[in-house]
């Protein structure tokens, strides 16, 4: 009788623990997958349109922060335009389209010596972007504070 009771009690505990794990697990699973953090998988927006490659003009209106970041960044001052790293959204470009380009391929096209140096020091990592913000890596040290670098903004 006691054995049976113990067994029963254990069963209940197991059941509750199992239920809690399943419940908690499914909530975790759900929040991590159903509402995933990386939502942009834009494939081919703006298929038509003569100047579809002129990303900046439209993105200045639709994603003004990204456009402004780029404009003020080193890549903006040097006119390294969107398509150099991202390709064309409809995939017709000469490099693969990607919203999050692979630094090992894209960055190396120009910054091979720097990437190689970092690789030697720390091993190759996918997240160049963590420190060297692609868009907002501004021309720093205040070197340009007296210049017109931030004044001009196309309409």
């Amino acid at each position: 009788m006691e054995d049976q009771n113990k067994c029963c009690k254990n069963k209940w505990v197991l059941l509750v623990v199992a239920l809690l794990i399943i419940f908690g697990g499914s909530i975790l699973f759900y929040t991590q997958t159903a509402v995933s953090g990386t939502k942009c998988e834009a494939a081919k927006h703006l298929k038509s349109g003569e100047e579809a490659g002129d990303c900046y003009t439209c993105h200045l209106k639709t994603t003004p922060k990204i456009a402004q970041d780029w404009f003020e960044s080193k890549h903006g001052v040097m006119l390294v335009k969107c398509f150099v790293c991202h390709g064309l959204p409809d995939g017709t470009g000469s490099i693969e389209y990607s919203a999050n380009p692979d630094p090992n391929y894209i960055c190396r096209r120009c910054h091979d010596p720097a990437v190689t140096m970092m690789e030697k020091k720390f091993g190759m990592r996918a997240e160049c972007n963590d420190c060297h913000k692609y868009h907002s890596n501004s021309v720093h040290h205040d070197a340009y504070s007296t210049t017109e670098s931030k004044k001009k903004m196309d309409q």
């Binding site: 509402v35 998988e41 834009a42």
Partner: protein, 183 residues
């Protein structure tokens, strides 16, 4: 069996009460770390809705309708907030990272509950050509961006210091006291 039903009913009752009690803006702002967010909201374009009623935190940060999604997100965010409030350190309040997580959990249904016509502005005027193209992409025409509302529409209710330099945020930023001045 009856016991199970009773326990379940009690649990549901308690949960329902807890959900209700923890969904007010005042409750959210009862933790000091939420105060600045509330201040920003007050000066933001999302302070009031069309009927001049204050917009609550949960109207944006939780799904609009009750269901498994609602339960899951509410539980997850709640547990996270309690943990961070109790055990968290300064690093956890780095707003650039917070933004990313917060945006992830803004459900499009919440936005579209108020913003019904995506081709019109809140003033009932047609939106710009670029806006139209972007919203068409959102709706799956002209390719698909598969992005949620909050992934394009940033700083609609909150505006950290580092986002105030953007031209597009100029009006909002002008209304706010500096973050450093103890918001």
């Amino acid at each position: 069996m009856a016991t199970v039903i009773v326990v379940a009913l009690v649990l549901i009752g308690v949960t329902a009460f807890a959900f209700q009690a923890t969904s007010s803006t005042d409750f959210c702002a009862s933790c000091h770390e939420m105060k600045r967010h509330r201040t920003e909201l007050k000066f933001s374009p999302h302070a009031m809705d069309a009927e001049k009623q204050p917009i609550a935190c949960v109207q944006c940060h939780l799904p609009n309708s009750f269901g498994p999604k609602y339960v899951a997100i509410k539980t997850y965010l709640g547990v996270k907030d309690v943990l961070v409030h109790t055990f968290g350190d300064e690093d956890d309040f780095y707003r650039a990272e917070l933004q990313v997580t917060a945006r992830t959990f803004i459900d499009d249904e919440s936005c579209r509950a108020c913003h019904e016509d995506m081709m019109k502005t809140t003033k009932d005027k047609p939106i710009s050509i670029e806006g139209k193209l972007a919203h068409e992409s959102y709706l799956g025409k002209n390719g698909c961006t598969n992005r949620g509302c909050a992934n394009c529409h940033h700083n609609t209710a909150h505006l950290p210091d580092f986002d105030r330099r953007y031209v597009v945020n100029a009006d909002f930023a002008a209304k706010l006291p500096s973050e450093k001045e103890g918001m």
